[in-house]
Symmetry: C3
């Protein structure tokens, strides 16, 4: 059986002083007061720390039972204990990570895992029940493979990466370090490539791979297809939400945000720091420049310019789209005005 | 090996009298005639019972080989056996449930299931091969966990709930009784929360949970994210179709219908009996009042009023959207009329 | 343990002459030159064969390190070895299939698979770890069931079909030969059918099945619901991309292409050779005639005519939609022209 670190979900406690030091903030409060978790103000829980980004949230926090509030430098004093920082939200994220449970971190290899004897397995890995690891796989130190994960032939996974339950990683995929892949996701399925002859669709074998760089996070039930002959690539730091589709030969730049149910068609290239809001569609063979932003449910069918915000179906610059929408709402009124004009002209002509 | 109730899929037979009593209907037919299944009229199968909601369907049923027809009170007699009820469709649903096979109900725990010894398992559960149950889990009576299901630490599942194959329930999720979750669905994946500093996206730990109340049904390959610090909640009786995305901190009221490929962004609250048709998108931090209805492929970007029907991208009241669409179809004609007016004016001015 | 054909991923080599014969092409080059893989021109890899469909791609290929290029009959000579054929892309597809690795083909039944003793298993099947096969299942020759696959009671799978990891096939599903189903997909989940009484949604049992004919390919994390009482059917040769939803009682004709994230609502019938581009929605109870084409992100809400191209939300004939879009972009200008006309009329009337 698996070695289980039984202490993993026991109570975690920090003093306010320790937390202030961690985030480089100025504590105005009781240094030794003990904090046992983070919370949202609406939960109204004592012994917790929260954050307030604006005066409204701060006043609500002051009235609540939370013990300590992370605030911006504009706040100078409070009846609550406060920690003053430049960016309360990122300070909160750092503190919250201290209290985050890691129920899947259980160093050891479960006896029901099926691991090919050519696989190389690092130190301190957590390989859960019913995991399957095929030939020539390399799993680095501290990797977590949750229950039912399939790791295909020749896959390489770098250190500290966490792969949640029932994820499928098809053969030859390369995954960087500190990557998180949520449950049910499929990496390296065949791209959708066919050639049609006499109305029959003949499969074009998909021989490429998928490369996922360091610090990438991928949501649940996502699909990332392997390249046709080269690779589908997701560069460092990109964060992908649930149920997103990434087609073959797509290249996604660093630090992108791809929100839920977005789909990117084949061979499209995204620059750095691109944001695609939920349910966006992007057609194939496009180039999206750095810092492109696309609004929810848009259909992007043309290349984009750096830093520009697009929306609509088909998408255009958001400013133009808004003007168009505003104008289109006036069409019923236009109809009336034109009718009136026509009558006026008739009257004039009949004079 | 698993104890298998071998009689589960043997022939099921009821008399017309028994069926009429079950649904509180009036039988006009042969009380002892035997019915062996439900069917659609188009299948034309003898020894079955079907239902007819309107005269067209009823005439078709009368000409078919089905043995018995559930009809509304308006139908007084027929050459077929009939059962008269107020609501033929719901009466049919009740009878169909008698004939529904339950291939996954096999009381026993399969020897390949991996169950932590802190887990509490109720009576008459069906725990299929390769199920994994982590620490401190509670599984109530009559629950079915199909093959390959993962139940994370601290999860609680109430009685009679059915969880289909390869579903993943992440830690601390609470699931009510008589819930059905279809295959491949992921409950409790991390919400999509990041804070961006110097173009890098820092993960905000997702420490909340998911609560799914009684009588909820969730389709296949759905994703429901855990709350950031509080809970994502799906209230009693709500029915969710396949490939739907429910983001962190969302609260879905009782008796909602969320049709396939719909996505709901973070922190949005839905009232009771809301209907979102297929491929709807709902942006974050909204409030949808009771009985809101949204048409397929709409993008809801504002709060809604109770009982109102919305459509469009962005969505507005459906009546307005229809008027707008009708008007927009007239724009090509408007162009011509304006051109004509311009010429007329020119003529007048040139006189 | 599983019998593994260790030679499966060793080097594959063909001569140019062998390849030219396979595709019925005319070789202009060195017949005995050895080709070790296919490639994309951009990879610039020696010892590989690629294809060029137009002069631009061909000139690029001529300058690259690839060894041999499949070209159309218009190309007569080159400094590279060439194989002249009518359709370079389909010739390439055939050659690429020679080099395609089959990492999942491992004849044998893994000892961790759980197979009911009523199941009939053909010759030369590859049944991977943690597969579950229920009662009365029939698996024909050469079928591959990858790790974690669930095959429900009464399912029949014909020869040469490949089912990737963690796919769920619910009871009574019928699957043809030479079918490919990618990872995470769910076939035979309950259709979304409820009858509402006093605001409560009562489940209509879904008693039908799913039928998938020969040569069908289905992507990753797709959902195909079982029929209410009859069957959901996908006819021969249809290719379905990732994350597509097929609702209950849908019938999809032969040789359809359904691109990623498309959804088809209940009881809709598609003819032959229909193409639905990505993120299309199709409402229920429609009939789509042969060779219908629908553009990305459209919402089809009416029956279609054979061979017609539709787009828009709601979709109409693409030509009309384009005219409407062009006209709608002129509305802001129309507003100005109408204002001007109104002033002119006022002037005339004030004379």
């Amino acid at each position: 059986m698996m070695k289980v670190k039984k202490n993993k979900m026991k109570e975690i406690v920090y003093t306010e002083k320790e937390l202030a030091e961690l985030i480089g903030g100025e504590l105005k409060g009781e240094p030794d007061r003990r904090i046992k978790n983070v919370s949202a103000v609406s939960e109204n829980r004592p012994d917790t720390i929260t954050f307030a980004e604006n005066p409204d949230y701060f006043h609500e926090a002051e009235k609540s039972n939370v013990t300590c509030v992370i605030v911006s430098m504009e706040v100078e004093k409070s009846n609550k204990d406060i920690i003053r920082v430049k960016n309360p939200r990122s300070a909160y994220a750092k503190i919250a990570s201290l209290f985050a449970p890691e129920p899947l971190r259980k160093a050891g290899i479960h006896q029901t895992a099926v691991i090919d004897n050519t696989a190389q397995i690092g130190n301190n890995v957590s390989i859960h029940p019913h995991v399957v690891i095929e030939e020539d796989v390399v799993i680095a130190d501290n990797v977590i493979l949750a229950a039912g994960v399939f790791i295909g032939k020749g896959v390489k996974i770098s250190k500290n990466t966490i792969i949640h339950a029932n994820v499928v990683i098809e053969y030859n995929t390369l995954i960087g370090s500190n990557v998180i892949i949520h449950a049910g996701t499929v990496i390296g399925s065949d791209g959708y490539g066919f050639v049609t002859e006499d109305e029959k669709h003949i499969k074009i074998p998909q021989l490429g791979k998928v490369i996922i760089e360091d610090e990438v996070e991928i949501g649940a039930n996502v699909t990332v297809d392997r390249g046709t002959s080269a690779a589908t690539i997701i560069h460092r730091g990109t964060k992908i939400d649930n149920l997103v589709q990434v087609a073959h030969n797509v290249e996604i730049g660093e630090d992108n945000l791809l929100v839920a149910q977005t789909g990117i068609a084949g061979s499209t290239k995204l620059g750095k720091s691109v944001t695609l809001a939920g349910q966006t569609g992007v057609v194939g063979h496009l180039e999206l420049e750095d810092n492109t932003i696309v609004a929810s449910k848009s259909l992007l069918s043309k290349n984009t310019n750096a830093g520009v915000f697009y929306s609509g179906i088909p998408a255009q610059e958001h400013k133009k789209e808004l003007r168009l929408q505003a104008a289109s709402r006036k069409v019923p009124e236009l109809l009336k005005r034109i009718k009136k004009l026509e009558r006026e002209i008739e009257k004039i002509n009949n004079k």
